[in-house]
């Protein structure tokens, strides 16, 4: 053997080999999907469930000279890339007269800032989420308007939380006030959405002909839907509208797949294995890799990533936490439980750090991919025991194309709406809104 074994860049999906090293070497710098040479801004929102151990989360000092708390300690190498935001709140996650159901409300409010309608059946309703608002405006430029990923399917049984439909706790992206978007949880399927079916069947088809057939098929079924709509009532028509909206999104994908900017898998990156990795850390890292890949190849600029569903009862044997997350989040002040929660919080933060680190490792233009990102990480529950919805644990990463100065801990006045942050993020991607949901103004101090 005469040379070093080359570093392979394989998304394996099992075990721990999920490295995507030196991506910048693999993708030649290209014009982005809209033909612009300047890197576009990307937004991602990560949600973790059940609140946190508040005492171990928030740093003491403010400003640039703060010290990371125990839970945030895995972010030490990335301290200059992170903002810790304290004092933000989601008022609409509170009961406000609707009684129990904080978990369901939290997930559905997290990016919408809207009060979920309390129902476990018909008429689910929240609001358009910030990512989807951005996707509607920016999404036409990329193959996928947005990407929704997560590690747990929508829950399968019963009403999920005190009379709230399961849809509320298992989705954060809301395309319309009545349409939460499901997430993709199978890494291979995520890959297929980004780059097309990796199996041979699709590769061997005559692509142009397939696109022609697909478009013609869409024309026929659109007529079907139009004809059907005439004989139906309002609620039925809403279902048909959803159908038509989905048809349109497929049309767009067919178009962009044919265009010059069809997404190309970077050389050396292979589709991950089918199925869900059994080890949670490896699984979450793999999903993070895919998110990075999606941003790097400009397949999409918007993503939501639910580390778990709200109210998740996952166990974490690899860090010696064998109780369900939700069960112990009701810690009742018990120190043992609080310690376990802290461990879980730290694990999730570490995973977020992995994602941020990956984004930072990708060169883009003069800087890194992370420079052109805005990442929000957090939960719409503060303390899992109290179910409070202010003093939320929120992290921000990225420089928003140079408009944000990370490396600080910023404390906002009590009950500052989280939606103020969203409004400020929308500004930066060129979407000027008067307000977003319950926002009261722009979030000051992001610039430094």
């Amino acid at each position: 053997m005469s040379r070093l074994i080359s570093r392979r860049t394989v998304l394996r999906g099992i075990g721990t080999a999920v490295a995507l090293p030196a991506l910048e070497a693999m993708t030649p710098l290209k014009a982005f999907a809209d033909g612009d040479a300047k890197p576009p801004l990307r937004m991602a929102f990560c949600m973790t469930p059940n609140g946190v151990n508040v005492g171990q989360w928030f740093p003491q000092a403010e400003g640039a000279a703060y010290e990371l708390s125990k839970t945030l300690s895995p972010l030490a190498p990335l301290k200059q890339d992170i903002l810790v935001l304290s004092g933000l709140a989601h008022d609409k996650a509170k009961a406000n007269g609707d009684g129990a159901g904080d978990h369901a409300r939290s997930a559905s409010t997290f990016l919408t800032g809207c009060q979920a309608r309390k129902t476990d059946g018909k008429d689910i309703r929240s609001g358009v989420s910030v990512d989807q608002l951005a996707a509607e405006k920016m999404g036409a430029k990329t193959r996928l308007a947005s990407l929704e990923i997560g590690s747990e399917r929508g829950a399968m049984a019963g009403n999920c939380d005190s009379g709230y439909s399961c849809a509320y706790s298992s989705a954060v992206a809301w395309k319309s006030p009545t349409m939460p978007l499901p997430k993709e949880i199978n890494p291979r399927q995520v890959f297929a959405r980004l780059f097309g079916d990796p199996s041979a069947i699709a590769a061997e088809r005559d692509k142009a002909k397939q696109a022609l057939y697909r478009r013609s098929v869409l024309d026929v079924v659109r007529e079907d839907a139009a004809g059907l709509g005439k004989d139906l009532g309002a609620a039925d028509r809403r279902k048909l509208d959803e159908y038509l909206e989905s048809v349109r999104s497929i049309e767009r994908q067919i178009q962009s797949a044919e265009g010059e900017n069809a997404a190309k898998v970077p050389a050396g990156v292979e589709a991950p294995a089918d199925g869900v990795p059994s080890e949670l850390p490896a699984y979450l890292r793999l999903l993070s890799d895919l998110l990075v890949l999606a941003f790097q190849t400009d397949v999409t600029r918007i993503a939501t990533y639910m580390f778990a569903n709200e109210g998740s009862n996952k166990t974490f044997p690899f860090i010696e936490v064998r109780d369900g997350h939700h069960s112990i989040s009701h810690h009742g002040g018990n120190k043992e439980k609080l310690d376990k929660i802290q461990k879980i919080d730290q694990f999730y933060v570490e995973t977020f750090g992995y994602l941020v680190g990956k984004l930072k490792s990708v060169k883009e233009g003069e800087g890194t991919l992370l420079d052109n990102c805005m990442l929000v990480y957090g939960s719409a529950i503060g303390d899992g025991n109290r179910h409070n919805h202010n003093e939320l644990p929120v992290l921000f990463a990225g420089r928003g194309g140079g408009t944000i100065l990370p490396g600080r801990h910023v404390r906002y006045p009590k009950d500052t709406p989280m939606t103020n942050l969203f409004l400020s993020m929308l500004d930066r991607v060129g979407i000027q809104e008067e307000r977003f949901a319950d926002s009261t103004g722009r979030l000051k101090g992001l610039e430094g």
Binding site: I201, E204, V217, A235, D236, R322
Partner: protein
Amino acid sequence: MKIGRVIPCVALALLSRGESPAQEKPIAYKDSVQPLLAKYCGKCHGPVKPKAQLNLEAYKDEASVLKDRKTWKRVLDQLQAREMPPDDKPQPSPAERELLTSWVEGMLEKVDPNAPRDPGRVVLRRLNRVEYRNTLRDLLGVDFNPTVDFPSDDVGYGFDNIGDVLSIPPLLMEKYFAAAEKVLDQAVQTPEQFRPRTRRLEAKSMQIAGGGQAEGETVCMFGNGEMQETVEVFLGGTYVFRIRASGDPAGGEPPRMSLRVDGKEQKVVDVTAQRRDPRVYEERLALEAGKRRISAAFINDYYNPEAPRARDRDRNLYVDYVEFHGPVDGKLPEPPAAHRRLFVAAPSAGRPRREAASEILARFLPLAFRRPLAEGELERFLKLHDLAEKQGDSFEAAVKVPLQAALVSPHFLFRVEKDLAGGDPKGVHPLTDGELASRLSYFLWSSMPDAELIDVARQGKLRDPGVLEGQVRRMLRDPKSRALAENFAIQWLQLRRLEGYQPDPRRFPSFDEPLRQAMLQEAVLLFDAVVREDRSVMDLLGADFTFLNDRLAKHYGIPGVEGPEMRRVALSDPRRGGVLTMAAVLTATSNPTRTAAVKRGKWVLETILGTPPPPPLPDAGELKDETDADRRLSLRQRLEKHRADPSCAACHRRMDPIGFGFENYDGIGAWRDRENGQAIDTAATLPDGSSFKGPVELKNLLLRRREDYVKCLAEKMLTFALGRGVEYYDSLAVKEIRRKLADNGYRISTLVLEIAKSYPFQHRRNRSQNPEGAKDE
């Protein structure tokens, strides 16, 4: 109008009722309710500047309340959540609050006997994953499993077939598209599939194991190892492989390349071509159909830095690509059964191609759309065939295109029930026979109607005397009715949560996947046996037999059951038998590390008695262990302390005693007499005063609550059958179903049949107005 979870059950006041169907003492509005409303609510919600524009004095009598159920539903929620009256205002006593809430609940359930009957309205229903799979199976004869790829279906009212919540987001539409292509690739055999074709695997994008690295277009293998890729081979046969390669010979030998299929060596090639002058090596290999792993391996690495001549020191192999072409001797196999079923006509001398395509579609489309075709519909789909024909596709390939369109059409993906054309927008009308046939088959089979049912419906005979009953009984006998156990029963019992549930492996080392599957199967098989043998629905609670395999029998401590297959076992010990004492239920209502008495109690109230407790108060929290003394208490003692808080007691005294009764079953449903060395205290008293000790006595008490149980089961099954929540106007139908059940010995076929015959199952109304004039959305 949304009633939601309060409907199934008139809660607290009825807890004490025994065997006889509910005849609760009426609460008088004028004498009992109005004074309380005036006392606690009137200050803010009176005629003068009422808060939230709610003036409770405006409701002079019960009739005025009935006209405004929506407002009173909100009042009920506020009362139950203790949001009202506000904390700083005088509070009603627990008894007063109970009186108010049970009165409102009673009102919300009341039907005005003089109003026209309302069958409700089911929203356009998308096929859920199970229905989609079964429908493809019955339509095409192809098994396609969407549970792997498709997003899970949202759940409403405890079931995943509720029209309101089944949405169709872009992700799902993409899946439908891909699935349509995939199943038709499986079902239809086209000549195109078998034309020899060439496929090139670029070496640089193959997976490399061992000593190799891509260098531009070439992969350099500098140490032993291989490059490989897995490909789909459509048709087995001989394939010509062409590999462009070169090498650095050293040590007197050229590099040697092994061609492997699925890791097995097929041919070995000496690559004598020099690095600068690569050559294409050709070999013929046999490939079987299916997924095949193709690899080219370097097998004789050599490295000797001491060799005198520099070019004799390092042996390497270079590969540019691996190409294969074939099959060159492929024989067309017999088309699969699915293909033969679809292609009922073929072009011939006397039959032009378009005519044959038209025949095929004229048979297929009405089946796929579960209705006769409308004018011009066939022509629109035929045009897709024409388009593909112009592209030069074979007949089979061209017919595939309209078939694909049908499988993503809203007529296929949704179960459509049309409004009565030109009818009164509020008009109530019976379903067409075709619509009724679909409702029946999706209720009993989770799939499309079969030929016989379609035939009866097409002739308009489905409602002839005895015909509906005959069909229902036939459908129940059909093996497909197992869907009722797998979809209805498993969701009714809330057992889908068992699927992803992971008890702590340290506490419960015996729990593993086979045991989980056996637990679920036990529940499915018991329900299915009750259906097959047309037993009483009471057997679901108190059967003296069950279904076990070796693992589950061992778990239960029942000897003499060997082998992994599930089989029927007679039970002599009443500690098992029926769903209440099934491991599946007991596990799904536990926490990963311990039992959860409250969850078990809540489960019984929700799924068996139909009297779910209201949600916990926002500030309830869970058990607090604030002091060391707290921590020394047993779980039961701590729960009892929690109940000392009057705001918690009202519900916990309903849930906890039931849970205590099942404490002999551990967190995965195994029997135990002691916990942590202490004897388990399973004695408790229900709110109606009846006391019991242990699960057997408790089970007997619950069996005596037959009317509550039957009402609950009937409502759950009606929800599943209709695909919507049960509303107040359905209570008459539920009452009729219960009466017939009592008359027929509680046989399950009566339950199913009476649901199929019921007013809401047989009728629908136009648009969104209901006859009482209240808007439903």
